[in-house]
């Protein structure tokens, strides 16, 4: 029985110096089949965060340099959403958005009433095709059918995944060779030429090593595995990992804080319900510390928001009475309201990944040691999220408000980032403004590993924009 969609930790072991749930998908298409498909742009309130608030290092680029590449990938991938006009969550190239329901609209209006222009609940932008159908038909993709079965891989190509979009597109060029069952061992560095010349790959099944050569190499193995590959790419020139002259490779790893949530009931609009499916929900862009520092913690959180309603059945009895009841659900309770936080965490030198000196996996590759944890800033942020969301729910007339902190380990957010961060200075960062290793410019990293800070937005869209921008740079310059 092959693994399907998620790898088993037993078959792909790693060392948790502190609890960390490392979620990986080694199938063709990787986690692009499994992602939540939420795509919000960053703004300069995110890129300028480290410099303004004094953590990590300054990002080497700003929003205006990435904006055209956000547009590029949004048009290609297909992003539905509304033009919301928010400076801290810039609008993009949107296909028509999905509707908010009657209670979500009520909440939106209540936010406007109670908080004016300082807090917004909007429709979350998602990578689903909801317009411009002729263009996506060229990729072999069709309209999202709102089935909400995305995690099975979509037969319509209704959402963006490597399988539905980039791989078929690459295949069209005639230059693509797809090699599943390839385990990257390391990057080959040629000291005489002063550049990387290829990649060592182990066949998953035969365990034999093979070398491939290239002028340009993109290492995008998904954040932590990118760190692993670079750390394992040792040579005389780079005994501590490729491009790791300053010893910072693997350090300043951070993630998104998804620990807390708030739920409630709403006894209004009881004459209404919803029908059909929707691949997205409501979204709170960050409202804490956006324009200036205003709390006792740094940065802030975004939040998901949704209201749901459906009929249920009385299941109290047994026998024919129960059978008739469950066949004909006709009870209508209150609207169910839910929210979850997505907090920015601060990358620190103490949050790191490293190679285990002894333990190896089945393919002889050193196991990764992960040491990442919540800090005091995260705890304060959780407290604030629970307080603020409770207050907002209360003001909107919601009742039976319940807060939760599930104390999940980092990693379950599946937004691990950093370790190969971008920066202006080769002494304090690994990658330059074009995502090239400072010390090995023909090696690019554009996945989560490259992130200098985490912001609050679901990060894939930003990785995609970096990747498109870096590919363009490589074509022009190398």
């Amino acid at each position: 029985m092959p693994n399907i969609f998620f790898v088993k930790d037993q078959e792909h072991p790693y060392v948790q110096e502190k609890p960390f749930d490392w979620i990986r998908g080694y199938q063709v298409g990787g986690k692009s089949l499994l992602w939540a498909r939420q795509v919000q742009r960053w703004s300069d309130f995110d890129f300028e965060g480290p410099a303004r608030d004094g953590f990590a290092v300054d990002w080497p680029i700003r929003y205006k340099e990435l904006a055209p590449w956000y547009s590029h990938v949004e048009k290609f991938a297909g992003v539905s959403g509304n033009m919301d006009g928010l400076p801290h969550l810039p609008d993009g190239e949107f296909l028509p958005g999905y509707p908010l329901n009657v209670v979500e609209k009520h909440f939106q209006a209540q936010m406007k009433k109670h908080y004016g222009d300082s807090r917004h609940m909007i429709l979350a932008r998602c990578a689903h095709i909801n317009g411009n159908f002729d263009y996506y038909a060229q990729q072999g993709r069709a309209k999202c059918q709102s089935r909400n079965l995305c995690q099975r891989g979509c037969p319509f190509g209704g959402y963006f995944s490597a399988n539905s979009s980039t791989l078929p597109w690459a295949e069209k060029t005639g230059n693509m060779t797809l090699r599943p069952d390839s385990v990257v061992h390391s990057i080959i560095y040629d000291e005489e030429k002063g550049k990387a010349t290829g990649v060592r790959v182990i066949d998953r099944l035969s365990k034999e090593m093979e070398e491939f050569y290239a002028d340009v190499i993109f290492v995008n193995a998904a954040a932590l595995n990118t760190n692993l590959v670079l750390l394992n790419s040792t040579s005389n020139r780079f005994p501590n990992g490729l491009g790791n002259d300053n010893g910072l490779l693997g350090k300043y790893v951070a993630f998104h804080n998804y620990r807390a949530g708030v739920s409630a009931d709403y006894e209004g609009h009881l004459e209404y319900t919803t029908q059909g499916g929707r691949p997205t929900s409501g979204y709170f862009p960050r409202f804490r510390n956006v324009f200036k520092q205003e709390t006792d913690f740094l940065r802030g959180y975004a939040a998901g928001f949704s209201a749901n309603r459906g009929p249920y059945a009385d299941q109290s009895g047994i026998g024919m009475e129960l059978k008739e009841n469950i066949l004909n659900p006709d009870k209508w309770g209150p609207w169910r309201i839910g929210s979850h936080m997505m907090g920015e965490t601060i990358p620190k030198e103490s949050g790191y990944v490293a190679l285990d000196p002894n333990l190896k996996d089945e393919w002889g590759i050193p196991q990764l040691r992960v040491n990442v944890d919540y800090d005091d800033n995260d705890e304060k942020m959780i407290k604030d999220y629970l307080e603020q969301m409770t207050e907002m729910f209360d003001k909107a007339g919601f009742t039976n408000i319940r807060t939760r902190d599930d104390h999940r380990a980092p990693g379950l957010d599946i937004h691990e980032m950093g370790g190969v961060r971008m920066g202006k200075d080769p002494n304090t960062s690994l990658l330059n403004a074009n995502n090239q290793l400072h010390a090995v410019p023909n090696v690019y990293v554009t996945d989560g590993a490259s992130m200098t800070s985490t912001a609050t937005q679901n990060p894939s869209l930003t990785y995609m924009a970096f990747a498109a921008r870096a590919a363009h740079h490589a074509m022009k310059n190398i």
Binding site: V102, R147, E271, Y272, T274, G317, I318, I326, L327
Partner: protein, 184 residues
Amino acid sequence: MNRRDVLRNLALITGGLVMVPSCDFSQEDILSAYDKLKVSTDMKQLLGKIADTIIPPGKIKGALDLEIQDFILVMVNDCLDEDAQQSFTKGFKSFENYTINKTGNKFGQLETSQKEEVVLAGLQEEDEDYKDLQGFLGTTKRFTIQGFLLSEYMQTEVKPYSLIPGDYQGEVLISSLKSEKING
């Protein structure tokens, strides 16, 4: 691989998402598919009768017709933790004695109305002595309802699952919904 192994593996692999097809384990007292529960053929039959009391046959099929007992056992065997499994087994094993104490007869010998009374009484037990029994019946009821509603029969013949449910509408008047009553 013989047929029994195939079926056992199917039960384990599917993790309860797909019902185990009809199979004859009569050669074997302890059913290997439910290795954590130590369930015998007799017990499985009894479970089928309890499930059929919870959702009886009528105009449409009942729990026993759909072999929901297999669904229940797969779910308990594969998806509950060890404590819950032990409690389930303990409650299960005490059920026949409970029935005899209540009615003087074994469950299989009772009339439908008597079976309903025993199961309802067990579900409503608050006494600490009957905690496992009450839990066993509660779990059985929960998985009977789930297995019934999610069965292929229900999802294809009675209330066909909509593969494409249509565009989202966020403001639908409940009074405008049309629903045809399904008679059980």
